[in-house]
């Protein structure tokens, strides 16, 4: 995966700075870099977000499709994640180089969203056991400037938040089977409720301290990191230890506290950003070309 090689001295310098709470780019340990979110990057999807955090640049696009719910959860919709590391991010991703990284991120995302009550999957169900929405969330990593996981998690939340899910205005009975009916007007859609959706805060340990939103250099100084999913109410939705490092119990506890604190703020910022985006989308002109009509694509 994308890494930078540092000499021992450079690492020492970085670590020393972190210990004094001044990082190379002048941030303190708990500061995020500046970033921005741009909506409707890809017009032929139901919701797409391009999120940039300093050098890290990710496009998240969601496509809603009609499908059959899983048998074990007959009254829930399905959310699928697919991460794709474009070689534009780094030559190491050429060919199948990025698959390892993509796989890991994909697993973490799906476990964060599937195994917790972060999103009410029932709202994605149209007719139990018959029809539900399948939301395909595709993540394309255009550039990797460190702290990829957090950015992707934010992107996913923003994308799901601004994703337009066509409104099933009712059901019609065909041959004794309820079939959803969709309004032809494509401005009738619902938004997913992401008020509980978590963001992920990755904490690499540089020297003896955990830092937030690490750059590639800082990541290369640390053996391992903790990926902690934090819900808006400050509760932890997932913890994963990545990399080959050992931590002491107290340091993990401390880092979880820290992540909870940071995560709440991030969530706040993100969610009112999402609301802004929704408003702007409402005012924005009719997207062109018109999206494919969901009524037809029953296979």
């Amino acid at each position: 995966m994308a890494e930078v090689l540092l000499s021992e001295e450079e690492k020492y310098y970085l670590v020393l700075g972190v210990a004094q709470d001044i990082r190379v780019d002048g941030r303190s340990r708990l500061d995020y870099r500046s970033g921005d979110v741009e909506v409707n990057t890809v017009t032929n999807s139901h919701g797409s977000v391009r999120i940039r955090l300093a050098e890290t640049d990710v496009i998240v696009a969601a496509k809603v499709d009609l499908g059959v719910p899983k048998t074990e959860t007959p009254n829930q919709g399905i959310i699928k994640f697919l991460v794709d590391c474009s070689p534009t991010a780094s030559p190491d991703f050429e060919g199948r180089g990025g698959d390892q990284l993509a796989e890991t991120i994909c697993r973490i995302l799906s476990s964060t969203y599937a195994k917790s009550s972060s999103i009410n999957l029932k709202s994605l169900c149209i007719v139990p056991k018959e029809f539900c929405y399948i939301v395909d969330v595709d993540i394309l990593v255009l550039q990797c400037g460190g702290n990829l996981l957090d950015v992707i998690a934010m992107g996913v939340k923003a994308c799901l938040g601004t994703c337009e899910i066509p409104r099933a205005s009712g059901t019609r009975y065909d041959l004794g089977k309820p079939v959803p009916v969709f309004s032809k007007d494509e401005f009738q859609f619902d938004y997913l409720d992401v008020s509980k959706a978590p963001v992920i805060v990755t904490l690499p340990r540089v020297g003896r301290y955990f830092v937030v939103d690490a750059t590639l250099e800082e990541e290369s100084c640390s053996k391992g990191k903790l990926a902690i999913g934090v819900a808006p109410d400050g509760s932890i939705t997932s913890v994963d230890k990545l990399g080959k490092a050992c931590y002491q119990v107290r340091s993990i506890a401390a880092s979880v506290q820290m992540a909870a604190k940071v995560g709440v703020d991030v969530n706040k910022v993100l969610s009112d950003r999402i609301n802004k985006l929704k408003l702007s989308k409402l005012h924005s002109a009719k997207p062109w070309p018109p999206k494919p009509e969901e009524g037809m694509d029953v296979e």
Binding site: D174, L175, K177, M296, V298, E299
Partner: protein
């Protein structure tokens, strides 16, 4: 085997020769290679030779399967290319050569819809003929695409499949054995062919041999069908517009008489075949063209039911029949 590295003397010979209109094979600059086409005993097998020393074999076959979800009203059509190690000195299993040929063939036969796939549909969304063509490069001495295209075309033209249809009242797949029906031919909308040129600044060399292809910088592929429509263009070297137009003219002329030769041969083969051939009426079929809600209902209803089972009509059916049948389906 031939030496892999090209000698400088040969290089200079070819390049110098191209300028004064001399070629290795002692051919004229715009003189195309002579093609030889022969058909195998089994239906839809064709071998095309482009003298000197390029030999490609193509075998068409069809089986009954499910159509793709994106095109439920059509049969499927796949082309796969194998370059045998005997042809080249070393193993080129996964090199770009086979895939390049396959791409060219796909573009010409599949994306330009040379084959009427809708006529291959048996039951909308559920059953269709899966047509596949295996192309084997046996000897190679340049001009692979040209030869392969010829071979595939020959294979498709001489291919026959048994009739298969859905019994209306008992919703079952019925495959008539050849004894009881006339085998159906494929219906081709147009007959494409490719001509390749080697480009050496300001000069076109028609259908170069291997050494010329390796030595000369550029290559131009022109695909033209019998109704004088361009169906494929590929270029790997800067070229003047006039030269390009000239190339297409040459290609058109050559491709027309090559196709005529092919048609003639195909006619002979068909007359030789003892089974009388049932001619489909021209024009696309009505089946499976419209995507209507009623079609949706039926499909959704039938999905719930079990798959249609194969039933043979002939009352007394022998093992040989079954074998023949399977031959024709799985062949």
């Amino acid at each position: 085997m031939k030496p892999k590295t090209i000698a400088n003397c040969t290089r200079s010979l070819v390049k110098g020769g191209a300028k004064n209109g001399i070629r290795l094979g002692a051919r004229g600059i715009h003189e195309f290679r002579t093609a030889k086409i022969s058909f195998g005993n089994s239906v839809g097998s064709c071998e095309a030779v482009l003298l000197p020393g390029t030999r490609v074999f193509a075998q068409a076959s069809a089986a009954i399967g499910e159509p793709s979800d994106s095109r439920p009203g059509e049969g499927a059509f796949t082309i796969s290319v194998w370059v045998s190690p005997a042809a080249t000195g070393e193993m080129v299993g996964s090199s770009e050569k086979p895939s390049a040929i396959a791409r060219t063939l796909e573009r010409m036969f599949k994306e330009n819809r040379a084959v009427d796939l809708e006529s291959l549909c048996i039951k909308f969304g559920e059953l269709a003929w899966i047509l596949r063509v295996d192309v084997h490069v046996i000897e190679m001495n340049g001009c692979l695409q040209d030869t392969a295209a010829l071979a595939v075309l020959g294979a498709l033209l001489t291919f026959q499949r048994p009739q298969a249809e859905i019994d209306v009242n008992t919703d079952e797949l019925v495959v008539l054995p050849l004894a009881e029906c006339t085998p159906v031919e494929l219906h081709l909308f147009h007959l494409p062919a490719v001509m390749s040129f080697a480009l050496c600044d300001e000069i076109l060399l028609a259908e170069p041999c291997q050494e010329e292809e390796d030595i000369l910088p550029g290559k131009l592929l022109v695909g033209i069908n019998d109704s004088k429509e361009l169906c494929h263009l590929h270029l790997t070297h800067p070229i003047e517009q006039e030269l390009l137009l000239e190339a297409t003219k040459l290609a058109q002329a050559q491709c027309l008489d090559r196709l005529n030769m092919l048609k003639g041969l195909v006619e002979e083969v068909k007359t030789q075949r003892e089974v009388p051939i049932y001619k489909r009426p021209q024009g696309p079929r009505a089946t499976g063209t419209v995507l209507s809600l009623s079609a949706l209902e039926t499909s959704s209803r039938n999905r719930s039911e079990k798959k249609p089972s194969i039933k043979y009509l002939s009352p007394l059916i022998t093992a040989s029949d079954i074998n023949m049948l399977e031959e024709l389906c799985i062949l």
